[in-house]
C-alpha cells in the first residue's frame, strides 16, 4: 500500500534526476562538437536546445544563439524548467515529499546533489570550470543511482522509481535521435565525411554510448548507430532496453497489487514495436516518423500510469 501522491513523487523524482544527467551529457556533447567545428557551432546549440525541448524558451530569453548563453540556459537558468538547476530543485522537492518512502542513503544522496549543485551553479560557469561542473553532475547522478540500487527494497517504491527513469530516458534518447535524424538518413548523409563522423560521435556521446559502441567493433554509420540506440537490448540506454524494463516494472506492480492496468497494454504495444522489428523496417517506415510516434506514445504511457496509479487527485 502506498499513497498515490507518493508514487507520483517517486516517479517524478527519478524523471528529474535522469533529466539532469541527460542534460549534462547533451551540453558536453554539444560543447565538444562546437569546439571541433567552429562554423557549425550555432547549429549545434540549436540542436542541443531542441533535444532538451528548450529552444522556444531560450529564444524568449536571448536574441541570438551562442555558446555562453546556451550553456547558461541549459545549466542554471531558473526560467528554464529543464535547466539542470531547475530539475535538481524539482527532484529534491519530490524527494522531500516522499521522504518516508526513501532510505536514508537515497535521501542524503539527493540532498547532497542539490547542495553541491546549488553551490557549483550559484554563478555563471566559466569555460575553465565547465568540465568539472559537468563531471560533478554525472558523479552525483551516479551516487543517487548507487544508493537507490544498493539500499532500496525491491517493491512498488522501487518500481515507480524505475518507471520514471525509463520513461524519461526513452524520451531523451528518442529526441537525440530525432533531432539528428537527418544526419542518420542514408540518402542525405555523405558517408565517411568528417562532418558525419563528428555528428555520429555526438549522438553516441549524448547517450553515453560511445565506448560501448566502440566495443561492438562494428562499422560506424547511421544504420549501425540507429540500430544500437533503438534496438540493442544490451545497451542500458537503448529504447528497447528501456521498454523491456518498463514492461517488467509494470508487471512487478501487477504482481504486487494483483491488478492489471490499462497502461500495461500501451507499454506492451510499444515494446513489441521495439523488439519485433529490425533497423531496415524502421528506416523504411521513416526514422523521423518512427521516433515521433514513439515519443508521443511514450508520453501517453506516462499519462496513463499517472491515472492508473492515482498520482494526482
Amino acid at each position: 500500500m502506498m499513497l498515490g501522491k507518493t508514487a507520483g513523487g517517486l516517479f517524478w523524482m527519478c524523471r528529474y534526476l535522469e533529466r539532469s544527467a541527460n542534460n549534462a551529457r547533451l551540453i558536453e556533447a554539444g560543447s565538444r562538437m562546437a569546439m571541433t567545428r567552429a562554423d557549425a557551432s550555432d547549429a549545434e546549440w540549436i540542436s542541443v536546445l531542441s533535444t532538451a525541448n528548450a529552444l522556444d524558451g531560450y529564444n524568449e530569453r536571448h536574441d541570438e544563439i551562442n555558446r555562453t548563453h546556451a550553456i547558461d540556459y541549459m545549466l542554471r537558468d531558473r526560467t528554464n524548467p529543464s535547466s539542470v538547476m531547475s530539475v535538481v530543485d524539482a527532484a529534491r522537492n519530490n524527494a522531500r515529499m516522499v521522504r518516508v518512502a526513501l532510505t536514508r542513503e537515497v535521501w542524503e544522496a539527493v540532498n547532497d546533489t542539490w547542495m553541491r549543485l546549488k553551490d557549483a551553479l550559484a554563478r555563471q560557469v566559466s569555460e575553465k570550470d565547465l568540465p568539472n561542473v559537468l563531471e560533478l553532475i554525472r558523479q552525483q547522478s551516479a551516487q543517487v543511482r548507487g544508493a537507490l540500487h544498493g539500499t532500496m527494497l525491491r517493491n512498488d517504491i522501487f518500481n515507480f522509481c524505475r518507471i520514471g527513469t525509463f520513461l524519461e530516458r526513452t524520451d531523451n534518447v528518442a529526441r537525440i535521435l530525432d533531432v539528428k535524424y537527418y544526419v542518420l538518413l542514408p540518402s542525405v548523409s555523405m558517408v565517411g565525411s568528417s562532418i558525419d563522423n563528428f555528428q555520429w560521435e555526438t549522438i553516441l556521446r549524448s547517450a553515453a554510448a560511445e565506448r560501448s559502441f566502440a566495443w561492438l567493433n562494428k562499422e560506424s554509420g547511421p544504420r549501425a548507430i540507429s540500430e544500437f540506440l533503438i534496438l540493442d537490448q544490451r545497451l542500458p540506454r537503448s529504447l528497447a532496453f528501456c521498454y523491456i524494463n518498463l514492461a517488467r516494472n509494470l508487471a512487478n506492480l501487477e504482481a504486487e497489487y494483483g491488478e492489471t492496468k490499462p497502461c500495461q497494454a500501451i507499454c506492451a504495444n510499444i515494446l513489441q514495436r521495439l523488439t519485433t522489428t529490425d533497423i531496415d523496417a524502421i528506416m523504411e517506415e521513416g526514422l523521423h516518423e518512427f521516433l515521433t510516434r514513439l515519443i508521443n506514445d511514450n508520453n501517453g504511457l506516462g499519462t496513463q500510469i499517472e491515472e492508473d496509479y492515482r498520482f494526482a487527485y
Binding site: K5, V100, M115
Partner: protein, 470 residues
C-alpha cells in the same frame, strides 16, 4: 547572577555535570571545534532544516546545535515528570469539562467570558466525545528553572507542539560525535519516542476501527517550517505522511488515496491548525484540510490528535488560571508552579504592567514562537513606547510576566564555555493507558549573551538533553 546548571553559583561543577566537566577539561578545544563543525555538516546532509516564515532567501535554515548537553539528574527528572503528569491530566479534564458540563465555570473558578469570548474556544466541540476521552494526545510542556529546586511551567503547548525531531536527532548527533561520553554516563534513551507515540496514538483509535489502527500524519506540505519533523515522525512511526488533498471522505470514513484505491485512516496525527482542518466546518478557504472530516470525527469515524479546540488550554490568558485548574480537577496543589502572570484584561493588573513595562515580559495571548512579545529589560525606549500603545489599544490581548532570572547552561564558543539561558520542552504522550513522558526533551538555548529569547525563529539554538539513569 542567574543560576548556572553546570556550576551553580560557584566554580565547581554541580553533581550531575561532574563527569561531563572532567571529560570536557581533558578534551582539546581545537578538536572540539572541529566536532562542532562536523555536526553542522551532518545536519545539513540529513536535511534537518527549519523554514522561517517570511524570509524567502533564508528558506531553509539550520537551527544551531550546541555540543554541550543540558543534563538533569534522575531526581530532578522525577520531580519534573510528576508535576508535568499532574498538569497534563488536569488539562485534559479541563478540556472535557468546558466542552461538556462546564463545572469549573459554574464553580466560579474561571470567569465565564474567559471561555465564551475566547477565540480559541471551539463551539463545534461542545458535546463531542473524542475517542478514548483524550484531547491532548501530545503536549510539549515548556519548563524554565531559576535555581537548584525552582522549576516553573512557562507554557503548556497543547495544540501541535513541535521540536521532537530535534530531541531525537540531537541525541543521534551526540552519539556519533562523542561515543565515549555515553560510556561514561548512563543516559536515558530517547530513541523510543516514535514507537511510544505510535502506541499512544493507536490506543486512541476510534470505535470505527476494527483492525490494527492505521495512523497517518497530516502535514501542510513541504513548504511548512516543520515539514522535516512531520516526515521524520511519519517515517520513524511507520505511518503515512499525508496532505489534505490525499484525503477525502469515503463511505463515512476519512480515507487516503493510495495506488490501489481509497483506504480508511483511523488516527490522524495532524500538524495542521484547527482553522485549516476542515473547510466545510472551519475556514472555508483552507486547501490544507479535508472537507467534512469534522462530521466523521463527531460520528466516531476517526481520531484527530490533538483534538480540535484544545487551543483553549494553551491560551496564555487561561495559563494564568492553571494553578486553579490543577487544583479543581486533581484536588491537589500544583506540583509545578506557574510563572506569576498579570492578565492585562484586568484594570489593576494593566495599570501595574504599564508602570513596570521596562522590567516585564509581555506576550500576546494568542501569539507563539517569540513573535509579538516585548522583553522589557532588553528593549529600547522606542520599542517600549510602541508596545505601550499596542497594549493600551487592546489590553485583553496581552499578559505580562516578571523577567525571571532563567537558569543558564554553558555553550561551547571559540573562547571556551560561556553561560547562556535555556528552557526545556519535554514531550508528553497521553492515552487511555496513561501519561508517558520520554526522559529528555528539546532544550532551547539563547545564543546571544544575556538574551532571554530562546526561540529558533529568533536566533536560538538547541542542545541535547540528558536525563541520567542514576
Amino acid at each position: 547572577m542567574p543560576f548556572d546548571e553546570m556550576f551553580g553559583h560557584g566554580e565547581h561543577p554541580r553533581q550531575p555535570y561532574q563527569t561531563y566537566s572532567d571529560w570536557f577539561q581533558s578534551e582539546n578545544s581545537r578538536s572540539l571545534r572541529k566536532k562542532a563543525k562536523e555536526a553542522e555538516r551532518a545536519f545539513r546532509r540529513t536535511g534537518i532544516t527549519f523554514n522561517v516564515y517570511g524570509r524567502e532567501e533564508a528558506n531553509e535554515r539550520l537551527i544551531p546545535f550546541d555540543i554541550v548537553p543540558h543534563i538533569l539528574s534522575n531526581r530532578e527528572w522525577q520531580k519534573l515528570s510528576e508535576g508535568i503528569e499532574q498538569r497534563v491530566l488536569a488539562l485534559n479534564a479541563f478540556l472535557h469539562d468546558i466542552y461538556h458540563r462546564q463545572e469549573i465555570l459554574k464553580a466560579g473558578r474561571i470567569p465565564r467570558e474567559m471561555i465564551s469570548q475566547n477565540a480559541a474556544f471551539e463551539p463545534k466541540m461542545i458535546g463531542v466525545d473524542p475517542p478514548g476521552g483524550i484531547y491532548t494526545h501530545i503536549v510539549g510542556t515548556d519548563i524554565v528553572r531559576t535555581g537548584e529546586d525552582e522549576f516553573y511551567v512557562l507554557e503548556d503547548n497543547a495544540r501541535t507542539p513541535s521540536g521532537v525531531s530535534y530531541m531525537l536527532e540531537n541525541r543521534e548527533t551526540m552519539f556519533e560525535m562523542f561515543p565515549d561520553l555515553f560510556i561514561r554516563h548512563k543516559v536515558c534513551p530517547v530513541s523510543t519516542y516514535p514507537k511510544r507515540l505510535r502506541r499512544s496514538l493507536a490506543a486512541c483509535a476510534p470505535s470505527a476501527c476494527t483492525d490494527k489502527p492505521v495512523v497517518a500524519v497530516l502535514t501542510p506540505g513541504i513548504h511548512n517550517s516543520a515539514y522535516f519533523e512531520h516526515s521524520f515522525l511519519a517515517d520513524e512511526m511507520g505511518a503515512e505522511l499525508v496532505e489534505g488533498h490525499d484525503l477525502r471522505v469515503v463511505n463515512g470514513r476519512v480515507a487516503m488515496r493510495t495506488t490501489q484505491g481509497y483506504m480508511p485512516v483511523d488516527v490522524l496525527y495532524r500538524r495542521v491548525d484547527d482553522a485549516y482542518l476542515d473547510p466545510l466546518n472551519f475556514n472555508p478557504d483552507s486547501v490544507l484540510g479535508v472537507p467534512g472530516i469534522m462530521d466523521i470525527y463527531r460520528a466516531g469515524g476517526i481520531t484527530i490528535a490533538n483534538a480540535p479546540g484544545t487551543g483553549i488550554a494553551d491560551d496564555k490568558a487561561i495559563y494564568s488560571y492553571m494553578p486553579d485548574i490543577v487544583e479543581f480537577y486533581t484536588g491537589e496543589k500544583a506540583k509545578l508552579p506557574n510563572v506569576p502572570t498579570w492578565r492585562c484584561s484586568d484594570p489593576d493588573s494593566l495599570a501595574y504592567v504599564l508602570d513596570n513595562l521596562e522590567d516585564l515580559v509581555v506576550k500576546e495571548v494568542h501569539g507563539s514562537g517569540g513573535y509579538g512579545m516585548l522583553v522589557g529589560p532588553a528593549a529600547s525606549r522606542k520599542e517600549v513606547a510602541a508596545f505601550r500603545a499596542k497594549l493600551q489599544a487592546k489590553p485583553d490581548g496581552y499578559i505580562a510576566q516578571p523577567t525571571l532570572a532563567l537558569s543558564t547552561v554553558p555553550i561551547f564558543t571559540n573562547q571556551g564555555l560561556a553561560p547562556r539561558h535555556v528552557d526545556l520542552r519535554p514531550f508528553v504522550l497521553v492515552s487511555p493507558n496513561g501519561v508517558d513522558i520520554t526522559p529528555g526533551g528539546l532544550t532551547r538555548v539563547a545564543l546571544k549573551k544575556g538574551s532571554l529569547v530562546v526561540n529558533s525563529s529568533q536566533g536560538g539554538g538547541t542542545k541535547d538533553t540528558w536525563v541520567l539513569e542514576s
